[in-house]
Structure formats: C-alpha cells, structure tokens
C-alpha cells in the first residue's frame, strides 16, 4: 500500500508554547484518517502545517514521498476545506469550483466540462449559476468539497467542516462525506472535536491531547481498548471508579485482577497494563457494559447493588443515574428501551453487573493539585 502522507516528529512552537509536540503518523492512500481532540489540542495547527500555512519548527512532512519543506500552500498537492468553508461570495458556484483550474491555465472548455461533471458527482447538477448565498448548509458543504476535489489533490484536509451545521444535517452529512470519500478514493485527513464524526467516518483515528497523539487506532479499538485514561474519557462515555488490586490470576491468554473499591465491592477484571498486587488503579466502565438485573445464571459476572436516583430518558440513548448504597458515588447505566425495564422507578434498589472482559484499567493517575 502506498503512503500518501507521512508526518515525522513534527513540532510547532509559538514563542514558549509548544502547540504540536513531535507528532508522527502515516496515512495510506485512499484512507479516511481523523484527528480527534478537544479544542486547543493543536489539531488545527497540525493541519495548517500539512497544508503549508505554517512552517513546522521541526520534523518533516512528506506527501507521496516528497518533502514539503518550503513549498507554499498554492504549490502543494493538498487542499484544505476550511472550518467556515470560505466559499467566495463574489463568485457563483461554477466560478468557485473553476477557480483552481483557472489558476492552472486550463482551457475554458475543459474547465466547463470538468466543473459540470464535478457538480454532478456531488449531487448538485446544473448549479453553476447559483449564488453562494442561495445554497443551504449542506449544499455549501458539497460545493466546498467539489472546489477542492476538482484539483485532484493527493490529500484532502478537512477542518471541522460540519461544525456549523445543525444536528440532523450533521448526521446526514457524516454519511454523505464517507460515501463520497469511498467513491472518489481520495485520501482524507479530517480533524474534529466530535468523537461521533471521527468514529463513524474514519478508517483510523488519532486522538490528540496537548500537542501529542495519545493513540492512533481503528475506531473499534479506540473504543474497546483505549491506551490511555484520556482516550478512555474522551472517546465515548465512561464511569470512572478507583480501586485497589488485591490479587492477580494469570490464565492461559489473559491476566485477571481481583480488585476492591473503597465502597467495599470486590470485582474481577482483565487488564493489560503492567500492574502488581497492592497497586491503586482507575477502573473505567462504559454505561452499556453495565447490565441491569442480569440473569442470575451467568456466573462470571461482577455483581453489585445500586439505588436508582433518576431516569434520564433520551430515546435509544436513555440512562439510569444510580448511586451505590450508602455512598454518593454516581454511576450511569444504559437503559435499553426494550420495555423490559419499564418497571424501574427512582428509589428502587436493583442489581447491576458487568463482565470482567469489559473493564478498562489504568494505574491511578497522579492527581495534579
């Protein structure tokens, strides 16, 4: 597989502040690669370095094996979709899309044909003479992408382009964007702070925090096997629980720890980190890996009692907010809308359980005062 984009130890400093701190990654041809992180984590800076608007302080950026150092944005085989799309309001849709080709002194007839074709491809045939402000949010999106794709870039960079859309449209555009990317086969590098965008569309996702990559992985692994507490907290929802290891069992292919929480619950969980008996750990449990009123016949489950505090109804995403008995530790548990749990009321004392495979453990983070 050919590598389209290769970033090696790239650093960007603004005076004393390090925005991007030796980041390295490769993106293979035709992949949808996302960089996910909270605002201010350095992802936009990284993107601007790839597109050529910033020179890195250190490290190299290669596109199709060619070092990009010193090459200005207008000479790079990458194009950027801006956060606000930056469609040119002084031109109509056709002129917007033709802008890049005109800069290459392409023949008028060729430009016209290519523009028409590109508009068809993004589902806006015959939109050439529309004004930019006549377009809906989703249509603007497509024009912005068409404007870049017509130049046939090696890599298309996207800077949170869905941020300005409303929720329904965003959901729809996620799927559209993924479909479009598969269709054209161009390599996409997409940055976002919205984990759902990253997880739905990407082949690989890099989670970025404070200028560094925490983990680069497939969406599934990111969710199931986060490598750092930050990833566990940032990707998907998690209940965080502190505990102490009281014993370790090694079986054939996994290590199982016996742990005890401050509330006195004793659980079994598998773990990957290098931990020993007596270590303090953080345990992360996803709301959907906690079962309500589990069948007593499943022996391997960790079981504990909870008191229902309130029910947070949100359709398929409904939760129970519960407390441990005689404690103020809150726990969120998924409430499947299968009618099976309709009888649960606030104040009820019920049983919950989870399987040792779904526990995610890390050594206790040192609390920064």
């Amino acid at each position: 597989m050919q590598t389209d984009l290769s970033v090696v130890n790239v650093i960007k400093k603004f005076q004393d502040f390090t925005a991007v701190d030796s980041v390295s990654f490769d993106v293979e041809k035709g992949r949808f690669f996302s960089i996910l992180g909270p605002s201010g984590c350095g992802k936009t800076t990284l993107l601007r370095m790839i597109s050529g608007f910033f020179e890195p302080t250190g490290g190299t950026i290669e596109i199709k094996g060619k070092n990009m150092a010193g090459i200005p944005p207008n000479k790079r085989p990458v194009n950027l979709i801006f956060q606000n799309l930056a469609l040119f309001p002084m031109m109509n849709v056709g002129q917007n899309i033709a802008f890049g080709l005109e800069r290459q002194n392409e023949k008028r007839s060729v430009i016209k044909r290519k523009t028409g074709k590109m508009l068809e491809r993004v589902g806006l045939p015959g939109f050439e003479n529309k004004k930019v402000d006549q377009l809906s949010g989703g249509q603007k999106q497509r024009v912005a992408i068409a404007r870049s794709l017509i130049l046939d870039p090696t890599v298309l960079l996207l800077d949170e382009p869905l941020g300005a859309l409303d929720l329904k449209l965003r959901e729809q555009m996620k799927i559209e964007l993924k479909t479009l990317q598969t269709q054209v086969g161009t390599t996409f590098v997409y940055i976002t702070h919205d984990q759902s965008e990253a997880l739905v569309m990407s082949d690989h996702v890099a989670v970025m925090n404070e200028g560094k990559f925490e983990q680069v992985d497939t969406p599934r692994n990111l969710y199931a096997k986060p490598l750092t507490p930050f990833v566990a907290r940032f990707v998907g929802e998690n209940n965080q629980w502190s505990a102490k290891i009281t014993g370790i069992e090694d079986t054939q292919d996994e290590r199982v720890a016996m742990i005890k929480t401050p509330e006195g619950n004793v659980f079994k969980t598998i773990f990957r980190e290098n931990l020993n008996t007596g270590d303090d750990i953080d345990l992360f449990l996803r709301p959907e890996s906690l079962l309500l009123e589990p069948d007593p016949s499943i022996e391997t489950l960790n079981r504990f009692n909870i008191i229902v505090k309130s029910i947070l109804f949100d359709g398929a995403n409904s939760r129970i907010l519960a407390l441990l008995p005689e404690s103020d530790r809150e726990i969120q548990i998924s409430l499947p809308q299968t009618r099976q749990f309709d009888h649960i009321q606030p104040g009820d004392k019920i049983e919950s359980g989870w399987s040792p495979e779904s526990g995610i453990t890390f050594p206790r983070e040192k609390v920064v005062p």
């Binding site: 200005p72 207008n74 000479k75 956060q83 040119f88 002084m90 890049g100 290459q104």
Partner: protein, 285 residues
Amino acid sequence: MKSGIRWGLVIFITPVLVWLTVLILLPQVDMFIMSIRAENELGEMGFSLANFKLFFLEPIYWRTFARTAIFSILVTFLTFLITMPIAFYITKVVSPKFQGFLSVLILMPFWVSELVRVYGWMILLRESGVINHFLIKFGLLNKPIEMLYNDATMITGLVYTSMLFMLVPLLSVLESLDNSLIEAAYDLGGSVWSIAVRIVIPHCLPGIVSGSIVVFMLTLGNYLTPNLMGGKNGLWFTEQIYNQFIASFNWNQGSAFGFLLLILSSAIIWLGLKLTKQRLGKVVQ
C-alpha cells in the same frame, strides 16, 4: 399611536426639512435660475441660454472643464493605487500589535487643515525650498529648479489631500474580508495577482466606489490646491467660477459654470455607480 399627529416625527423632521430646503434645495434651484438668465441687447435681464452658449464657444472654458474632469479621474485612480496597499498592509499584513498604532498614525495628518498641508508642500518644493536645498547640498543639482506650479505637483498635492477619504472606506471594507477566503484562494493555487483581482478587489468594491466618489467630488470642487500648487496656465474649473463671481462679478455666467460642474460631478458619479453596479444609498454606509 396610529391616530392624530405623530409628534416624534414632526419634531425630527422639521429641522431636517428646513436645513435641506433652505440650504440645499432652494440655493441649487436659485443657481439654476440665475444660470439661464442673461442681459439681452437692451440691457434687460431675461431668459437666455447665452451663458451656456459662451461656455461652448470659448475654448478656454470647455478645455478647462475637460481638463478638470480628466485630472480629477486621474487623481482618484492614483489615490486608489497608492492607498490600497497601505490599507491592505494595515488590516492584513502587519502584526496586530502595531495595527491600532499604525491606523491612528496614518489618519493623523488629515486632521490638519488642508491649507497647512499645501503650505508644507510649497516650502518643500519651491525654488528656495527644502528639497532644492538638500539636492544642491549633496551636489545633485548646481542651481535650484522650480518644482512647484506644474501639473505633476498639483496632482501630487491633490492625491495627498484626498488619501484620507480613500483610506477610511478601504480600511473598513478590508477589515470585513474574511482571511480564510484569501487562504482558500491561495490553497487552491492562486497567486498574489489572481487573489488580488478575483478575491480582494471584488470584496472591496463597495469601499472602493464610495472612496472614489468622495475623492472625485472633493478633487473636482477643490480650489485651494490647484490655485496654490498648479501652474499659472493650467486653470482648474473652480478658479473659473471664482473669477466670474469675484473678479468679473458676472454672477449669471458663474452660476452657469457652477451648474455645469454640478452636472459633471453627478454624471460621473452616476456613471461610476452604474459601471460597478453599486447603489449610492448602500455605498455611503
């Protein structure tokens, strides 16, 4: 609120109506009436187009008129060429730290009276002026030359006087240009030239037009700068008007000239608006 007299409206509209009627509308009408009256053979005043006829018959009049118009257009264009990069630099290039300071500094000289500024140019450029002094001191000249009183210095003076009125609208319109448009054009392969022509200028058009209108109008109606810096044989049309009024005391002829200047300024502004597809009401804001 619906019934009776709307007192708010009455209070607001009265002074405005008085101002516009008494000081703007009626004087212009009066000037027009004056311009179409002249003495006949018997020495009686009556309706006549003689004043306008004289304008077309005397080459010195219509030549000065044409010269004033063409030079005013030239001055407007030069003012735009000179100030556009300055406005761009202040709004888009210089680091934000210096932005406020530079924009204050650049507008400062224009608060000073036009007369003082023209006077400054005179003591710089004249035969015994500062520039001649330095040129001789450094051996670039052996005897002083008169740099004042020609068309080039007059144009310099007019451009200098007008720059403020171009800078202010350009600064505000460039301020509203989203940087990401420039970045996007650059990213799509645009060069400095194509970005200027396709993105920056079209975006700035309303500001350019409003600046140009004001500069053109002020240049056309300027008396001071052409009078003090221009050559003796290169008259400005306002000087002709002044001569008719003050020197010849021929108010009817002067009115005709004034009316012609008004028509010229309105016509060129109207043409400018038509060509750039802008509207006056919008441009002013």
